[in-house]
Symmetry: C2
Subunit: 204 residues, 2 copies
């Protein structure tokens, strides 16, 4: 994925989001304070206090910022064929191996997910986020069926299952010490896709 | 599942674990304090302070307590055939619909998972927990292949994938407002199992 922060580095809002992300990666959710977010922010800390009442407000804004980034990335996707587009999307959600940067991102996201069961603002945000990924994948499946690349399948069911599996893998990866092999998970997911769509997606 | 707390209601440790669970369900992780756990505990609060230094220590002990409960449940399983045993296990991990009690449990667990990316004690606990479920399922698959109920399959890969999918579903269920249909997830997982094991597991 492209760097959501770099693209608008001059923008104060993007800088605040970058600071939020950097602080979240360093400290995790529990130890995060608005002060620590301020420490990562290159401009005056008072700008943060002017805009946000506390860390939760900033984190919810951060999730919204990330969602907008993903949406714009999806819109900008080149017109590959459906098989290629689906592979690219799964690569993004469930890479076979994660860079330190991806690893840090997934950990940060899991920490925020962990707030959602008992905090409505976070839950509302994820209730909006998941369908963006689901409908993006469902859309690819639908087009793949229409163009004859995939055999008939229920696009919504397939998309939901792919998102669920990828999120399960991200959760296990970020909450255990190397307990899950991501490449194996992908190849099992590929077996599911082969049955549902009549073609392998993630294999060579 | 049987009630892990009731079975040893007279036991102070079990009562502490019950109090931890009740407080976690009510307040979530962030708002949880050892004081609030004490409020749920029927005996003297000082007993808690004697045993645990803070809420995190109590919560890590709680995870250990739950793990022991699951292990003893797995050991006590009746000698059904492999298909029946696998269905029972998936029913436990991914019920088609959740009672309020199951719902509260899954939410509490997600909140604790959310601590693991940035807290080693929690991460160590989940690194121990996941393999218990994986090896239980792998064991069922292995026996099912040996007895001819399932066709040849890699027990470990199938087990990992089932656990990943079930955890992804639990995560999405507990962090969104009804965004995921659990019954549909089960039927897609069943399709995967049908391909891997040569028989449906979760269908009628």
């Amino acid at each position: 994925m492209s760097d959501p922060f770099r693209s608008a580095a001059e923008d104060t809002h993007a800088e605040m989001m970058q600071a939020t992300y950097d602080a979240l990666r360093k400290h995790g959710y529990s130890e995060l304070t608005i002060q620590r977010i301020g420490d990562e922010f290159p401009k005056s800390k008072s700008l943060i206090y002017q805009h946000y009442d506390g860390k939760d407000e900033l984190l919810v804004a951060f999730l919204e910022f990330m969602l907008e980034h993903f949406e714009s990335e999806f819109e900008a996707e080149p017109p590959h064929d459906a098989r290629e587009r689906l592979r690219e999307t799964v690569d993004r959600l469930l890479p076979a191996a994660m860079s330190d940067e991806q690893d840090a991102f997934v950990r940060a996201l899991t920490a925020l997910r962990g707030q959602a069961p008992h905090d409505e603002a976070f839950r509302r945000r994820f209730t909006e986020t998941d369908p963006v990924f689901v409908s993006h994948i469902a859309d690819i499946v639908r087009k793949g069926v229409a163009e004859g690349t995939f055999r008939g399948a229920d696009p919504e069911r397939v998309a939901q299952f792919v998102v669920t599996t990828c999120q399960g893998a991200a959760l296990r990866h970020s909450t255990t010490d190397g307990e899950l092999d991501l490449a194996t998970t992908r190849s099992e997911l590929d077996e599911y896709l082969r049955v549902r769509l009549g073609t392998e997606i993630l294999g060579e």
